[in-house]
């Protein structure tokens, strides 16, 4: 299982890492958000801003890459050989998720470079919170978007259905502003999203925030694994189509 997952992750990176859409999502979109953010504030780039802007790139990139990857598997009918292999679909899906997460990390240095060049870096830039926060954000984002794997695998894909995710998750992840700036009814929902806890830690919160984010992410990954098992069962028991 492990070698299959590794292969799936490597192939994911090899085939999609420099696709125009992936780069647009991971780098161009956060650059635009940075521009909008800096039209409101004139400070130098601190770790929280850098991680938040990178988070927008990660979110977009993970959605785009996962969608392209899994719908590609369905279009090329490659899920059937995976399903008939001893490990089933799980190594493939895990590998793709790992690959997508690694791919999305390009946003971290990419956006920092852009932010520093255009707006300069704060003298008190907290490198450890930037690096660790960025890594945790990639893990949390991939977990949350990874839930999409189930519907992508299980149902005939409805094109466009992931578009709304970008809007909702950018708002709920509190990547640019704290949850208190959101409309009141959205504030408690934001804390269900692991990215919010990562951002709270990056903003100077306690380690418990990071632990909460990682616990939430772990739970979501378990849900993803169970849901993929359900898809496998449905495909074998009820012959649901695994092709586009």
């Amino acid at each position: 299982m492990f070698p299959t997952a590794c292969r799936a992750a490597i192939d994911q990176i090899r085939t999609q890492a420099v696709s125009p859409m992936s780069l647009l999502a991971a780098l161009a979109m956060p650059a635009v958000f940075a521009f909008i953010l800096y039209s409101h504030t004139a400070t130098h780039t601190d770790a929280a801003t850098a991680v938040g802007i990178a988070g927008i790139g990660m979110l977009n990139a993970v959605i785009v890459d996962l969608l392209v990857s899994l719908s590609g598997e369905k279009r090329w009918k490659t899920l059937y050989p995976a399903l008939s292999s001893p490990g089933g679909l799980i190594p493939l899906v895990v590998g793709r998720l790992v690959g997508v997460a690694v791919q999305s990390l390009i946003s971290l240095p990419g956006t920092l470079l852009m932010l520093t060049l255009i707006w300069g870096m704060s003298p008190n830039f907290d490198w450890s919170r930037w690096f660790l926060g960025g890594l945790c954000l990639a893990v949390a984002t991939t977990a949350l978007v990874g839930l999409l794997s189930y519907s992508l695998l299980r149902f005939p894909s409805s094109p466009g259905m992931t578009n709304g995710l970008t809007g909702v998750l950018i708002a709920l992840s509190t990547l640019l502003v704290p949850s208190t700036a959101l409309p009141p009814f959205m504030q408690p929902i934001a804390w269900l999203v692991p990215q919010s806890h990562v951002m709270a830690w990056v903003h100077g919160g306690a380690v418990a925030e990071l632990a909460t984010a990682l616990s939430q992410s772990t739970l979501i990954y378990l849900v993803i694994l169970l849901s993929v098992r359900r898809v496998e069962h449905a495909a074998r028991a009820r012959a649901i189509p695994l092709e586009a």
Partner: protein
């Protein structure tokens, strides 16, 4: 309007607009613009700015988004379905067809923009402009967005990845239209470029009320991009035959 024009427009919408399923439509035309407008509204209020203009700008952008992506998909998906050759080989006027296919997306854009505006105003508890006034501004911005969309359609005829042209052009609009970033916040040389982008004159008209300027400006911007679009489409058709 002639029956066959409407019929062709509706068939093109059903055939080529892949987001016309309930989930895709709701997600793309309603949830996404509301989510983004909430984000930008929250950003404004967090940094002490007045939230109203941001809600107006982001909602107008939601309309522009619907036009740009709709028009791009109505041409780009010809490639996805392998029908681009048949369309190119037909005697149909391609610019005329692009305009015809834009009709349902203009209606969609109006719906999307209005819902985004009203929903986000309710969420933030403000109403910076009466709904009717906003509706007129939206119609005005859709005129220039249609011109811009014609150019995006032309690009979609030649660029293989159907989503690259609308994404690139929409991101440009986010920065340069004045909808989210006020023109005077843009660097000097970029500020003058902003005037040729859709929405910029409407947004300026909101800051310094000038109805004629906004109407004339948006119409001129629309005409400019429509002319560019016509040239791009003409070149794309010629390019396809070489």
């Amino acid at each position: 309007m002639d029956n066959h024009v409407v019929r062709g427009a509706l068939l093109s919408y059903r055939a080529l607009f892949t987001w016309s399923n309930p989930l895709g439509y709701l997600s793309s035309r309603i949830v996404r613009p509301i989510g983004l407008t909430v984000t930008f509204g929250a950003l404004s209020s967090h940094y002490g700015a007045v939230v109203g203009p941001t809600l107006i700008g982001a909602s107008l952008l939601a309309g522009a988004h619907a036009v740009i992506y709709g028009m791009a998909l109505s041409v780009g998906n010809e490639r996805s379905y392998g029908t681009l050759d048949i369309w190119l080989a037909s005697p149909q006027n391609k610019l005329g067809a692009v305009c015809q296919r834009a009709l349902p997306h203009l209606v969609d854009a109006f719906i999307s923009g209005m819902i985004t505006y009203l929903a986000c105003c309710a969420l933030f508890g403000v109403l910076p402009l009466p709904a009717q006034t906003f509706a007129w501004l939206l119609v005005l911005s859709l005129i220039s967005s249609f011109g811009y969309g014609t150019m995006v359609s032309g690009l979609s005829m030649t660029i293989k990845d159907v989503f690259v042209p609308p994404n690139l052009t929409y991101l440009t609009l986010m920065v340069l239209s004045g909808a989210l970033v006020q023109a005077d916040m843009l660097p000097g040389p970029v500020r003058s470029v902003s005037a040729v982008f859709p929405l910029s004159h409407v947004m300026q008209g909101i800051e310094e009320p000038d109805v004629l300027g906004a109407v004339g400006g948006e119409a001129a911007v629309g005409l400019l991009w429509f002319t560019v679009g016509a040239l791009v489409i003409h070149r794309a058709v010629l390019h396809a035959r070489r």
